[in-house]
Amino acid sequence: MEQQLLSFDNISYTYPTGTSPVIKHFNLQIPAGTITAILGPNGAGKTTLIHLALGWLHPHSGNVSLAEKPLKAYSRRELGQWMGLVPQNENTPFEYSLLEYVLLGRTPYLDPLAMPGEKDLEIASQKLSDVGLLLLKNRTMPSLSGGERQLVLVARALAQQPKLLFLDEPTSHLDLSNKSKLVQVLRTLQNQGVTIVFTTHEPDVASALATDMVLMREGEVLETGPADQVMNDRSLSELYHLPIQVKELNGKRIVLWDN
């Protein structure tokens, strides 16, 4: 049997300030080595799902397990080594240099009071070069464009060397060339055996990258399966309540919609 790296088992979650559940009886298995896109309209509960997977939020019912063990069985530091996150946006009021910023990703490997060493610096530089920003390593975060900043966040998550990487709307600030760079970086990562889960509300991005797909609406799974099966006119139209057509062109899927 294929090993399930991450599984959601009948998860429900309601925010403390909310009245109705954001995630409802959610079941999902994510096998190791896949790239899973969680596709859904704004407000579908995609980010909440990632927060539940990280252990940042605790489900009111059901269980999240990582490598067949419940999340509670791991220490904070172990979880930091297992799972990385590229958040949707991050407030950076202080003028960290890019290299310092990426170096922060090494924290799960450091003792609580230790400082990063030579080896960590080497890894951080390597990851910065993987996203093509090594030349800017001494620039400060606030001086970057939105797209570059997003790539630095990716580099930081890579420096964390996670086995499972979450990206929350990773392409929302990226232009086409940066999008393609990100897709390359993530494919390379998959080849190295890292499992990737990302959320998006853009079907094109999901289609370009994902091996597996989860269509999510109002906290529930609408459909799940291999990307080429799930990406069809019927399921996408249902997801967005819009007439949508999926066409193939030169072996790639493109998504068309009508107003």
Binding site: E78, G84, L85, N91, T92, P93, F94, Y96, L104, G105
Partner: protein, 322 residues
């Protein structure tokens, strides 16, 4: 960083020789060796005072740096979150109702300082307006105003011949009454707090990025943030309790440190501690040497602090999205 340590040592030694005895200016080496009064003066009054100024500057600057990182806002200072006003209220309460023994004033100031922060925090959680930082600052303003109103009532009630004077001097801030005993009383709290802040400075970087990120990098953000906040408030309350209200150091010194050494707390925090110490000692030197009657330290730090702050605001873009 090495040069900052050298500069600090130099400033400490220089300040030992600086004073108004026997004449305003520097005392000569020969006088210290021969004059017993000069010896007593230097070792029983000046040295503890200089060392307390060092602790004062270091604590306020470190706490300011820590608060700015934790609240992801370069314009935060312990004074903004009800700590200073709370401590002032606590000190006045003690002077009027509990007799005003030095240790009791200090304990009361520390207690109310922490209470001020706690109230600001609890209030901020209930405010339904703006982002988290704005809410904290608004809550801090409300709590500070509440305490300063209370302080006003206390001043009105105070005996103008004894208690009011004591309260006023305390509010102006100063180190004229520092003895070895007071220095040694606050030393353990300050040393432990500074040590915690210094050792946790790498993780402080992560806390400045927000809880979601800090959590995903293996931190327990709530717990670690609380520990750092408590360390910051403890150090601040301890030094305020002996020195009275000395403002602005916590706000401007981390800015200066960040300008020279960058945002990374690995360097920013130790630099803040050193620069804060140097700044406080020099301000205190000015206060005790410039005029025959002493100028309260709080006035000098405010004067210089406000000027430097205005300069920073004009010349540096402070990036903040919150």
């Amino acid at each position: 960083m090495f040069w900052l340590v050298v500069l600090l040592v130099f400033v400490v030694v220089f300040s030992m020789f600086l004073g108004r005895y026997p004449t305003p200016g520097l005392i000569s080496f020969k006088t210290i060796l021969t004059d017993t009064l000069a010896q007593k003066l230097v070792f029983n009054l000046r040295v503890p005072r200089i060392l307390t100024a060092l602790l004062l500057g270091a604590s306020l600057a470190a706490a300011g740096g820590v608060f700015q990182m934790i609240f992801s806002n370069p314009l935060v200072d312990p004074g903004f979150l009800g700590v200073s006003q709370g401590a002032a209220f606590g000190a006045a309460t003690c002077i009027i109702f509990l007799g005003g023994a030095a240790w009791a004033v200090q304990a009361s100031a520390a207690f109310f300082g922490c209470l001020g922060l706690l109230l600001s925090y609890l209030l901020a959680r209930r405010v339904r307006y703006g982002g988290w930082v704005l809410r904290l600052v608004l809550a801090g303003i409300a709590v500070s105003a509440f305490f300063s109103a209370g302080l006003g009532i206390l001043k009105y009630m105070a005996d103008p011949l004894s208690q009011l004077q004591e309260i006023t001097f305390w509010l102006l801030g100063g180190l004229w009454s520092i003895t070895w005993k007071q220095f040694l009383t606050i030393l353990p709290v300050v040393a432990i707090s500074l040590f915690i802040m210094w050792r946790m400075r790498w993780r402080l970087n992560l806390l400045s990025l927000g809880d979601e990120t800090a959590f995903s990098l293996g931190l327990a953000p709530a717990r670690e943030r609380t520990l750092l906040l408590v360390a910051g408030v403890a150090a601040t309350s301890a030094v305020i309790s002996v020195a009275g209200m000395v403002s602005w150091i916590g706000l401007i010194i981390p800015h200066i440190a960040r300008r020279i050494f960058g945002a990374d707390s690995r360097y920013m925090l130790p630099a803040s501690i050193l620069i804060g110490g140097i700044f406080a000692i020099l301000c205190d030197d000015i206060g005790r040497v410039l005029m025959a009657g002493e100028i309260p330290l709080g006035i000098i730090t405010s004067l210089l602090g406000a000027a430097i702050f205005a300069y920073i605001m004009i010349n540096q873009k402070v990036p903040t999205n919150k």
